[in-house]
Symmetry: C2
Subunit: 135 residues, 2 copies
DNA sequence: ATATTAAACGCAACACAATTGCATTTAGTT
DNA sequence: AACTAAATGCAATTGTGTTGCGTTTAATAT
């Protein structure tokens, strides 16, 4: 399915900012910060971009992750992600050199045993190290 | 060892703000945000508090964690934590109800197998759910 | 006890991320 | 082509964290 139809299918209008933002998010196979995305446009209103990212997130098109530096990042949801059942439990990798963040969908994490009284809803595993490109 | 001596042992002057901040951090067995700590004082300069927290962190007295909402939090280091070998790899638990964060030093996490090319330096595991008090 | 001084403090200013309100424009529809 | 709800662009505001600088103070030396 093309970008325009995908946005429309999610109940959103296919506007220029949304099309470009989605194309950027779908490229590079990584999680993008607002600043990185903004730099990918020749010209964009940063408030509009904030709202587009929020719209995408609410539509279940992207998920938000806070990286090791506290920077908010967005990555496309690879499997179909209805907002309710949206699982963000996959591992994220943050490179100490280039500071890029990657979603590691194929990395398996073992279930965690919590102390009595604590109930788990979800888990965010954030690994930091050196990525393949920087190695 | 008392609070004053502990601060001095780390090479810092035992000032009123530092004493109070450390007492707050040592109480409650959880990770405190700047805002929460500030509220624990009857009167404190917020810039001074930022600097005290930075000093504590650099001295290896506390470690910094970003919680599920992107809020920066500080928790006392339970075992002796020289800054160089300081391990922050223990699990953190963030409550969806009260938004408090806890360090789970006794929770074991299995080692993670990364794809070829990626080298791991450390890992931050952040579980979200409902804490014992809220359950 | 008093003097000394490097460290810590308090305040103003600044930088940056993110949100809200509102008037204008536009995508999708009739 | 006309309509309208949604999206945009801009200004203003909030929140978090940092930096510079003059003043005060904790720890030390006399
Ligand atoms: Mn991801
Ligand atoms: Mn901790
Ligand atoms: Zn890298
Ligand atoms: Zn709770």
């Amino acid at each position: 399915m093309n970008t325009t139809d995908y946005i429309r299918e999610k109940g959103l209008k296919a506007t220029p900012v949304r099309l470009k933002a989605l194309e950027l998010l779908q490229s590079g196979a990584r999680a993008w910060s607002h600043t990185e995305l903004e730099a990918g446009f020749s010209k964009v209103d940063r408030i509009t971009l904030y709202r587009v990212l929020k719209d995408f997130e609410e539509a279940g098109m992207v998920h938000k992750i806070i990286d090791m530096d506290g920077v908010t990042r967005f990555a496309v949801c690879k499997h179909s992600c209805p907002h309710s059942t949206h699982s963000e439990d996959h591992v994220h990798f943050n490179c100490r050199k280039c500071h890029k963040m990657f979603c590691m969908d194929n990395v398996h994490i073992a279930p965690i045993q919590l102390p009595a009284g604590f109930t788990q809803i979800g888990v965010n595993t954030l690994i930091h190290g050196i990525c393949d490109a920087c190695n």
